[in-house]
Point group: C2
Chain length 323, copies 2
């Protein structure tokens, strides 16, 4: 029921995903009356529908959603992960509520104090994992070390990267740069290089260069980096579009450039990077961007499938136990 | 002497600026032997040259530069601002050293505890001021309130904006979002709306939308926002260029698109936004990006000229005294 387009985008996304992952069985949580038209239209059959009229709105307070909306589609879905009736849960709904309910119902893994939100960003070389994207505005060095471990396994299981390079986001690459927390984290991570491939500090402009495979940061800076990147991309596209409008020759150039511009758009399509993961929980929970469409939602499902198929939870548990 | 290209870029930039600002007299601090060829080539005459062989390198520690290099071109230039022999100082050199020496020699203004670095970013509507860009990795709410006042006057004097809209960078726009410092700053700024036009929290993607005229943040987040923006822009240009290379039709499209692409490039040319200002000091100090060329350095000079012509220091002093 979540996201700006509601069941239209989510159910169409599920229909897409059911073709890509024919072995996956879908359990759909929501209002049957509101979902029926889309279900008929998509005509796919490999699902079970759990009807509920209760639903968390995008402006509901997380704490109220957690305490009062116990029959919401989101809550029922997360309960199912907890009871092992589902292997993972994907939602385009209220992020704060999703985090609060997931934390309460699923609990964090042994050795993880706080879950983090991890996402993917495009780079010159492929994709990079960045976490935390906003779950924790204040982080201790211990939190950041745990994020590094979670990001390491995420990169291995979702992107198939062996021995991922881990970077710590800072305002400079020299050891003297940054606040006391990033300095302490740098020192802590330098001591566990048997566990992870720590490459030191990285700066904002290193994220999209693909200098490392995992960028570790607190939820304040991570959120600002991600959203600034979105804003810059939007600005550049608008400027590019306007430039083409300004003369007849440009318009002709635009027509002939269509294939090139389409290749370009495909390469940085934000829907391809959709699917932020709530890492550190006893269960797989993936958050889709609320404004995405069916294709984006389908990709978020793909992220959940990768995490499940590659036993993310087992792998991170092994890593946390390692000395 | 500073910057990747040394006197080649800085002196050519001065020559450009001397045509735009014929009333400005330039005092040039540096090594005469290394500068002579460029000075002859540019053939401009409206300057005084102060020769020194001492020079701060980009990897010199700020504290060493401050204590030991007392005859460096940078130090002599800042001394001149302090003695009122110069109205402002522009450098493409070592940022840390520039900040340390400026703070030591010029001191901060009454009512300002710490200087901040302010810069401009392009938006859908024009330009926005963002500060701090990295001088202060840890900031109190009092620091941030002072940054808001400095940014307000900067926007008025450099961009000519009446009653600039001030936003506080955060991970969400709701009052419950963010860490304790941004929440306290929000509360503090809400109490001085007679002094400034405070518009509340803004998010990373609001910066380039032009939602506000001034974005206030600590040096950690500000630095990450600025550098992430640079990285994203670079990524998008590389992808765009590569897309055009991929077929003959695309290459033809590229040729016809040249005027449009040039207009586009001009609009987001980082050299146009060059010139970060060390605000809050008893004097005008502007930092040019080290990697810029003559055109970029000329723009940094333009920023200094605006601040001087519009009496930035007087205006901010008036604002700080206001109750």
């Amino acid at each position: 029921m979540g996201g700006d387009q509601g069941p239209k985008a989510t159910l169409e996304g599920v229909a897409m995903a059911s073709k890509i992952y024919p072995d996956v069985k879908f359990k759909l949580f929501g209002d049957m009356t509101k979902s029926q038209p889309q279900l008929k239209k998509n005509g796919f059959a490999n699902y079970e529908f759990i009807h509920t009229e209760e639903c968390i709105k995008s402006d509901d307070e997380p704490v109220n959603a957690l305490r009062k909306l116990k029959k919401s589609s989101m809550r029922l879905g997360i309960n199912d992960v907890s009871s092992h009736d589902a292997d993972g849960f994907v939602s385009a709904g209220n992020t704060g509520a999703l985090m609060a309910i997931s934390k309460f119902v699923l609990k964090t893994l042994n050795g993880i104090s706080r879950p983090a939100i991890a996402g993917l960003m495009p780079t010159l070389k492929g994709q990079t994992v960045i976490l935390d994207l906003g779950a924790n505005v204040d982080c201790s060095n211990d939190n950041l070390v745990q994020f590094a471990l979670m990001g390491d396994i995420f990169s291995q299981t979702v992107l198939g990267i062996q021995n991922p390079r881990i970077g710590l986001l800072n305002v400079g690459s020299e050891l003297i740069k940054g606040n006391s927390i990033v300095k302490q984290t740098h020192s802590d991570l330098s001591k566990i290089t048997k566990k992870i491939n720590f490459c030191g500090f990285v700066e904002g402009n290193d994220i999209n260069k693909g200098v490392v495979d995992v960028v570790v940061t607190d939820g304040f800076s991570g959120n600002i980096a991600l959203k600034t990147a979105e804003g810059v991309a939007e600005l550049i596209f608008t400027f590019l579009k306007n430039s083409y409008k300004s003369s007849i020759i440009s318009k002709l150039g635009y027509l002939l450039s269509q294939p090139a511009l389409n290749r370009f758009k495909t390469r940085i399509d934000p829907r391809k990077y959709n699917g932020a993961v709530l890492l550190g929980l006893n269960g797989i929970v993936v958050k889709s961007h609320g404004s995405t469409d069916a294709f984006g939602f389908c990709n978020a499902i793909g992220v959940a499938v990768s995490l499940i198929e590659n036993s993310y939870i087992n792998e991170i548990e092994k890593k946390l136990k390692l000395d």
